[in-house]
């Protein structure tokens, strides 16, 4: 029992375009206006969180050939919001999801290096992949990428971006007004990359940024995704928020690091988590039930069932029994542009299981979706939630959490005000920032130090 307590990492995800967000709540504000983002970021910084996280969308979701209209629809541009948030915060890390399929390394590297300069070393990149023609219809390059190539492109994209970041070493700008030497080295920023997906060369035009490279996050969960993260990421944004699943994932991913010459503490595992707080555990449980009913309207329940059944179920009564027809198994899916579709790998088996569950519990369609959908991760009084989070982290089910409140933008406030002080009292969460960069908050070495350490060790 002499093992020191792990320090918890906490981050905040601005709620996005899914039914986690309860937009109909009178307390729900704009998900577009900058004041919402500023409020959310200031709360996260007041609570000494490591970073704020923004997801990305590149095509509005559709179902049954129509734009999905039941959840929040639309969001601002990730880079632009993060740069503006750098003006209203001082320490908070700024993490953005940027797709490696519908972008080019030179431009994305410029944007992240610029964001790192403009925020004083607080930028992070959640690298995601996409391949579908549906999203590709908004882009010059179209939807061209075979699914099996998406990780190879993502890996090469990230490696190429790192070559661009590293093309400046940090000591090139002399700016000596007396002698007239601006650059020490005429070839600053020179790079050549010849690979399977990118064949580019020239000179990168953003000097080395405060963090050297932005922090890299990865979110995929497949075998390939786990390897990609183990080889190249600083943190994983995972989705396992139960203790057993979390521990299994944690052990699996951390064990993969050695093969890449990395230590277990060089990759943080941070699941997304939701929460409902009440003065007592019982009050929180009641509130959580209410939130679930707001999240899953009858119409939402039918649409959710359509993800699995892959057919039009609009004739069914959400308060009635589940459809007795089986799901349609086909390449074409009724729902486009959403990740959930891929989570149901054997829809016929799931339908059978759900029908049995509903019959056994006398659940309607809506009840079924309320019970099987994403429920709140942490429900309870502030003391219960603080204890649960700490237990989870100390038991190596994660290194912390990325919290997604269900109300925009004030949903994080009660967590900041009531749970964070308890974690601070227990000595498992920082009372104040110790450094200024996101790498400092996450305990990650600056890439130059890491390189120096590697050289010294070899």
């Amino acid at each position: 029992m002499s093992k020191p307590l792990k320090q918890i990492h906490l981050a905040a995800h601005f709620p996005g375009v899914n039914n986690t967000t309860v937009w109909s709540d009178p307390a729900a504000g704009s998900h577009i206006e900058f004041s919402s983002f500023a409020h959310f970021a200031r709360t996260a910084e007041r609570a000494k969180f490591d970073f704020l996280f923004l997801a990305e969308g590149l095509r509005l979701r559709e179902q049954g050939g129509q734009i999905y209209d039941l959840d929040v629809v639309g969001r601002p541009d990730t880079f632009t919001v993060l740069a503006a948030l750098a003006a209203v915060t001082d320490r908070l890390g700024l993490t953005g999801t940027i797709n490696s399929t519908f972008n080019e390394p030179y431009e994305v590297a410029r944007q992240f290096a610029s964001l790192d300069h403009l925020s004083g070393g607080r930028s992070a990149w959640n690298v995601v992949t996409s391949w579908d023609a549906f999203t590709g219809e908004n882009f010059r390059r179209g939807g061209f990428l075979p699914q099996e190539e998406r990780y190879s492109r993502a890996k090469e994209f990230l490696a190429t971006a790192h070559e661009l970041f590293d093309s400046w070493h940090g000591d090139e700008i002399l700016a000596d007004q007396a002698t007239g030497t601006f650059l020490r080295d005429a070839r600053a920023g020179a790079f050549v990359h010849r690979g399977q997906h990118f064949d580019i060369h020239g000179r990168f035009n953003v000097p080395r940024s405060p963090q050297g490279r932005p922090v890299v996050f990865q979110a995929g969960d497949s075998e390939q995704g786990r390897e990609f993260a183990a080889s190249s990421a600083d943190a994983i944004f995972s989705r396992y928020s139960t203790l057993k699943e979390g521990q299994a994932f944690y052990t699996d991913v951390k064990s993969r690091l050695a093969a890449y010459g990395r230590r277990p503490d060089q990759l943080l595992i941070l699941p997304a988590a939701t929460f409902v707080l009440g003065d007592t555990d019982q009050e929180a449980a009641e509130l959580a039930r209410e939130v679930r009913r707001q999240q899953v309207s009858g119409a939402t329940a039918i649409k959710h069932l359509e993800f699995v059944w892959n057919r039009d179920l609009s004739a069914y009564d959400p308060e009635g029994p589940l459809p007795d027809v089986d799901p349609v198994v086909a390449e074409e899916h009724i729902s486009r542009g959403r990740a959930q579709v891929r989570m149901y790998r054997d829809p016929v088996a799931i339908a059978r299981e759900w029908r049995q569950l509903a019959e056994a519990n006398k659940w309607s369609i809506r009840d079924l979706v309320i019970h099987t959908g994403n429920r709140q991760t942490f429900i309870g009084s502030p003391a219960t939630v603080a204890r649960t989070i700490n237990d989870f982290v100390q038991a190596d089910a994660s290194d912390g959490f990325i919290l997604v409140p269900h109300i925009t933008p004030g949903g994080l406030d009660p967590f900041a005000d009531k749970v964070v002080p308890l974690l601070q009292e227990q000595g498992v969460f920082r009372a104040d920032y110790e450094g200024t960069t996101l790498r400092d908050h996450l305990g990650l070495a600056h890439p130059d130090e890491a390189r120096a350490a590697e050289r010294a060790a070899s």
């Binding site: 900058f34 209203v88 000179r203």
Partner: protein
């Protein structure tokens, strides 16, 4: 003299590194080591706002700056490297309240879908003060940074091969702007309904596929970002000859031109107005701004001496596509009034030394123009379009 008072002038300032003179970074006021910090840009843009200027533009490109027109160089005696202009504009937006923010984007290698949502978001972040300056690039080395297309090396802009390339890249830029503008309109203003009774967050009938199919690319839409506060943020472009004048006439709200004198201004404005009419936009407000590099001091002799000193430091005389003005604020005000008689509605001034000439614009030139009743005494509108007298456009997709 006419009995009606002449129209007020619009003033913008073009920010590029430490200033437009290649030796500007060596001036004591230049702060070259701060170029890659947010504070540097915040200081310049708040200074421009103190002078009540309409907007600032921020230069950008997809490769290092060069003293050669169409190829990189390997000089170490000039500023090299810059930050993404859209991100600088957004970083400074929350620190300012009135001034327009117009970053440069390169249409040649970027995605109109990304730029549309970025500029829409800059408009949301700034409360309706966003614009964009669209440009093309002819540099083969910049194409090699992307690796998706090659661009042939041209020696200048006059040969037949060059003309073909210019026409092609400007046609592509015109399509690019068309896509960006359609995406801004792809959400009607009142598309977000939050109708708790039916559970619908949006009225999907008020979202529109843009279904753009062009020679260079196709884009489906709609945007992921709701229509920006201005409806259409400002679109601007710099133009030196007929092909780019046509882009300005067809697609822009403000064009920057580089006449050397009032007659030159008159000729350029006439050409753009004719193209504007040919494009069927005769009834829309299209500003034509004159671009001038400025060195402002208390006397003309001082300004000229400063230019000589900078040229000596640079090792060669500074030349520019735009006229280079050296003199006092009063002399510059005279020149601007003279140019305005040629039909220009405003000016984009390029400070030779940002740390010196920008405060001269805001503290000397602006009061001089105010005395002449040719410039505002206070910000009179909340949006950039408002400052420029541009109406908020109707949405092209909304049912009349």
């Amino acid at each position: 003299m006419s009995s009606t008072s002449p129209a007020p002038l619009h003033l913008a300032v073009a920010l590029d590194g430490t200033g437009w003179h290649p030796a500007s970074w060596r001036e004591p006021v230049a702060r070259p080591r701060d170029l890659f910090t947010a504070g540097y840009w915040a200081d310049l843009i708040t200074e421009a706002e103190r002078g009540l200027l309409d907007f600032v533009t921020l230069e950008d490109d997809l490769g290092p700056q060069s003293s050669r027109l169409l190829a990189p160089d390997e000089r170490t005696d000039q500023v090299r490297g810059r930050l993404d202009a859209v991100l600088i504009a957004s970083r400074v937006a929350p620190l300012t309240r009135h001034i327009g923010l117009v970053p440069t984007v390169v249409a040649t290698h970027t995605e109109p879908f990304h730029i549309s949502k970025a500029i829409a978001t800059l408009d949301h972040v700034s409360g309706g003060r966003a614009g964009v300056r669209v440009r093309t690039t002819f540099r083969p080395d910049e194409a090699a940074h992307f690796g998706r297309r090659t661009i042939p090396q041209i020696d200048g802009f006059d040969g037949p091969g060059a003309q073909e390339l210019i026409t092609e890249l400007f046609d592509e830029a015109a399509d690019y702007v068309e896509v960006v503008r359609r995406l801004w309109d792809s959400w009607e203003d009142d598309a977000e309904i939050r109708d708790a009774a039916t559970g619908r967050f949006i009225d999907r009938d008020k979202l529109h596929y843009i279904d753009f199919e062009g020679r260079f690319f196709s884009v489906k839409g709609p945007s992921i970002t709701p229509r920006p506060p201005q409806g259409q943020p400002l679109v601007t472009a710099l133009a030196h000859r007929t092909v780019p004048y046509r882009l300005v006439a067809r697609r822009a709200d403000v064009g920057y031109v580089t006449p050397q004198d009032a007659d030159g201004a008159r000729a350029v404005v006439a050409e753009i107005r004719a193209e504007q009419e040919a494009a069927g936009r005769a009834d829309e407000t299209l500003h034509v701004f004159g671009d001038l590099v400025v060195l402002l001091d208390d006397s003309r002799a001082e300004a000229e001496a400063r230019r000589d000193r900078l040229d000596t430091l640079a090792g060669e005389p500074y030349t520019s596509d735009a006229r280079i003005f050296t003199g006092t604020a009063a002399e510059l005000a005279d020149l601007l009034e003279e140019f305005a008689e040629g039909g220009l509605t405003g000016f984009r001034l390029r400070p030779a030394v940002a740390g010196h000439d920008l405060p001269r614009i805001t503290r000397d030139l602006v009061p001089e123009l105010q005395r002449r009743r040719r410039f505002r005494d206070a910000y009179e509108a909340g949006t950039l379009r408002g400052l420029l007298g541009l109406a908020r456009p109707a949405n092209r997709y909304a049912a009349a």
